[in-house]
């Protein structure tokens, strides 16, 4: 997946496709588990990319990192709007308060994530390329291996918690982690050596 040398504003033929896995990864990390059942990360990312394409003349940056940041902000707005829609639906349907709160908090968290993203751009510039590669490699893993890696490494959950959420034993989680990491490393090495 070629993401280096992302075309700048002048080029009409710019490559957003390379960011799809990256945005999906971010969306999955941001979505509350209760929202994940309702909102498909792929749909959200599709909307995000469509919007980016429609408003491409608004992008002012030059670099891949700036493009990634711009896409992240569109993603965050799309996610927050979707979460809010569900919060409103839950209210209208008279759903229990905890669900409403959880949805509203999700929306707020997504916005704060965006603010944090924007507030410290410098350290992130270096990492974007790496994260884009990581996201592409993750997308190629079997779902259970990918989930274990996302929960444990990217969300920072302890093994015990991962086991509980995935309804597996802790040793089974370690088995998935072992195989997932191994496969991921191979994929990353392939991607790193063109």
């Amino acid at each position: 997946m070629e993401v280096r040398g992302v075309p700048t504003n002048e080029h009409q033929n710019w490559e957003l496709e390379g960011f799809r896995d990256y945005l999906r990864l971010l969306a999955r990390l941001q979505l509350d588990p209760r929202l994940q059942a309702k909102l498909d990360a792929s749909d959200i990312v599709q909307q995000t990319l469509l919007q980016a394409h429609e408003h491409r003349d608004q992008f002012r940056g030059q670099t891949e990192a700036e493009l990634a940041g711009w896409l992240r902000s569109i993603l965050a707005n799309t996610l927050a709007a979707a979460a809010r829609r569900f919060a409103a639906d839950a209210r209208n349907l008279g759903r229990e308060r905890s669900l409403q709160d959880s949805l509203a908090e999700s929306a707020a968290r997504i916005e704060s994530w965006l603010a944090a993203e924007q507030s410290s751009p410098s350290e992130r510039v270096l990492r974007v390329e790496e994260l884009v590669r990581l996201a592409s490699a993750l997308a190629q893993l079997p779902a259970d291996q990918r989930e274990v890696i996302e929960f444990h490494h990217l969300k920072g959950w302890p093994v015990a918690e991962v086991a509980e959420v995935m309804q597996r034993t802790k040793p089974a989680v370690m088995g998935l982690l072992f195989r997932g990491q191994k496969k991921l490393r191979e994929l990353l090495q392939e991607a790193g050596e063109p």
């Binding site: 990390l29 707005n77 809010r84 409103a88 209210r91 308060r97 905890s98 509203a104 908090e105 929306a107 707020a108 968290r109 997504i110 916005e111 704060s112 994530w113 965006l114 603010a115 944090a116 993203e117 924007q118 507030s119 350290e123 992130r124 990492r127 790496e130 994260l131 990581l134 890696i149 490494h153 990217l154 969300k155 920072g156 302890p158 093994v159 015990a160 802790k170 040793p171 089974a172 370690m174 088995g175 982690l177 072992f178 990491q181 191994k182 991921l184 490393r185």
Partner: protein, 363 residues
């Protein structure tokens, strides 16, 4: 063949247990020395070395993602780890500021920057309020934590800070002084002088309750009041005046209105509009003095829109008609405040018996 398979699966299980031991020790902050760990399990040397290398590489790559997760999780962490349970939050939750919930044990609340959180004293649409100690100055403060953390973008955040700074310049004996506005670990907060008292919303609720009980000849003592000590003095005084139906009750209500109007007038002279005057934002201290709180926050709420509770800017019931009638929402400051104060008086007065037949429904 079957034996081989069984053997390899047993070997795999053994490996998983070993790796689990390593990761769990690392999670507990006691990661074993890698070389020693490898030496202890020579039969798995290759697998373990491979695992550890991948583990560290991934850990490093994930750091920026986790950091941003942790920042945004600041509020979650506070909600989950520091807050007492949410039981008892009723439909009136936006007006519970000032209500003291002693039923929750004063657990270890933790710290936010220079502030040591002591106990939760209220929560509303604009966030959770804690009684806290500012460690460096050893003073008691009320620390309001804003639930939506940051707004949609940094410009809006800046506007919020500007508003709060302007509010910090207000010096009036009926306005709660703002000490600081800041951000710690991604959590935005607003530190004010701690007022030992109760909100007018609580007082009104207590009066209404007392009215119901008056028929039975009971003193209006709710659970909340009995547990909150000194701060109920003002409420008690008003209750007594109220149930005795004395002139002093009306005088007290008038004083509340006057002090509020004076404080608003002062703020408007300075060019600052509160925009959300309502009973929950008026505190009565133990001497019965009024303190207006939450200056500079309504503006912020308008920017984050319907984020938390779906409330409109300025709780509609108390927004002055002058503000409502102008489509651009920018009334002349003094007209705005006077309207608010007037509406407030109408809310306190129905608590006297002659108005009770038309006591408006509270939600």
């Amino acid at each position: 063949m079957n034996e081989e398979l069984a053997e390899s699966s047993q070997r795999q299980e053994r490996l998983q247990e070993i790796l689990l031991g390593y990761v769990e020790a690392a999670e507990a902050g006691k990661a074993p020395d890698q070389r020693g760990f490898l030496a202890a399990h020579p039969e798995f040397a290759d697998e373990i070395a491979d695992f550890l290398a991948s583990y560290q590489q991934l850990n490093q790559m994930a750091t920026p993602l986790r950091e941003s997760n942790e920042r945004q999780a600041g509020m979650d962490a506070i909600q989950a780890a520091l807050l007492p349970h949410r039981a008892g939050t009723t439909g009136r939750s936006t007006e519970t500021v000032g209500v003291i919930d002693k039923s929750a044990p004063p657990a270890e609340l933790g710290q936010l920057g220079d502030y040591k959180l002591l106990r939760e004293i209220g929560r509303g649409g604009m966030g959770v309020v804690y009684e806290a100690e500012q460690i460096s100055l050893r003073r008691r403060v009320a620390l309001k934590i804003l639930p939506f953390v940051a707004g949609v973008d940094s410009r809006q955040l800046q506007r919020f800070r500007n508003e709060a700074e302007a509010a910090a310049h207000l010096h009036h004996s009926h306005i709660v002084p703002v000490f600081a506005v800041g951000c710690e670990r991604g959590v935005h907060y607003y530190a004010m002088q701690f007022i030992d008292g109760q909100s007018l919303a609580t007082v009104i609720a207590a009066l209404a309750e007392g009215q119901e009980k008056a028929g039975n000849g009971q003193q209006p003592t709710s659970e909340k009041e009995r547990t909150s000590g000194n701060s109920t003095q003002a409420v008690g005084a008003i209750s007594t005046e109220h149930s005795a139906r004395t002139h002093r009750f009306y005088r007290t209500v008038a004083t509340i209105g006057r002090q509020t109007a004076e404080a608003l007038e002062y703020a408007h002279q300075t060019g600052i509009i509160h925009r959300d005057i309502k009973p929950a934002n008026l505190l009565l201290d133990s001497r019965g003095e009024v303190w207006i709180t939450d200056f500079g926050l309504a503006q912020f709420r308008s920017q984050v829109g319907l984020t938390m509770t779906g409330e409109l800017l300025g709780t509609l019931r108390y927004v002055s008609r002058t503000s409502r009638s102008r489509p651009n929402g920018r009334p002349s400051p003094s007209a705005h405040g006077n309207g608010c104060a007037g509406t407030l008086l109408l809310w306190v007065l129905p608590c006297c018996s002659c108005w009770s037949a038309s006591l408006p429904q509270r939600h």
